[in-house]
């Protein structure tokens, strides 16, 4: 899978006021800065740096991360839903890549 591909998973339905888990997996190498063992050259890091979680276009959380997070990060964040809406995650890496994913929750 290409770098930046993300899977966003939320429950399809929830009760009003319920706290749900927003889970995501993003394809990304998350490589730290290091020396190439073959050539001895410095290899710059390539990591996701920031992820924002929106619900109905309101910012819920901002997650900052670095090379300490495992490759192909799995992240789960809690979200309290009061009305039906769209969950959106927007994330970017240190090489200028920007992506986003959306998912819907129906609140009954």
């Amino acid at each position: 899978m290409a770098i930046g591909t993300g899977i966003l998973r939320v429950p399809k339905e929830a009760k009003k006021g319920e706290v749900v888990r927003v889970q995501m997996v993003i394809t990304h190498p998350m490589s730290p800065p290091r020396k190439d063992p073959a050539t001895g050259q410095e290899v710059p890091p390539h990591t996701l740096t920031k992820l924002e979680l929106f619900y109905n276009n309101r910012l819920v959380s901002t997650l900052n991360m670095g090379a300490g997070v495992s490759a192909n990060p799995f992240i789960a964040i809690s979200l309290k839903v009061e009305e039906s809406g769209v969950v959106r995650i927007a994330y970017e890496d240190n090489k200028g890549g920007k992506w986003d994913r959306t998912a819907e929750i129906k609140v009954t």
């Binding site: 959380s61 991360m65 670095g66 992240i75 789960a76």
Partner: protein, 148 residues
Amino acid sequence: MDRRAFIALSAVAVVGFALSPALQPAHASTPRLEEELQRRLGVRLAQIREVAEIKITAPTIAESGANVPITVESDIPVDRVEHLWIFVDKNPVPWVTDLKLTPMNGQVYLSTRIKMGETSNVRAIIKLKDGSYVMATKEVKVTAGGCG
């Protein structure tokens, strides 16, 4: 060396060995962590209160340091909480991730997978709205490091 002197000397050696970890200041083994805390949070480790309300779920022994599942949960109401950090004391960069929380989160919760270079303490540090810091610590043993 006669027998008496030998016994006296070995007794001194044993006592010295037993005391040596206790003689070191508690934070001497984590200068990188202290530096990172100072830079990112502006506090020293000694200023952070250890509380029982934060729960870290992580394996006691991790199979691979490249992929250690960590879950941080807390009973502290989310509207009293501002920010959550995860640190690994002995990583080359102790800061792993941090999350800004709002009341819309409903609960203090973060689950992810992290890299660990070696056996170390994992810390979850929370900044409360009143400006104070609280934390929980859990040691995770790593048999194969994950920073490479």
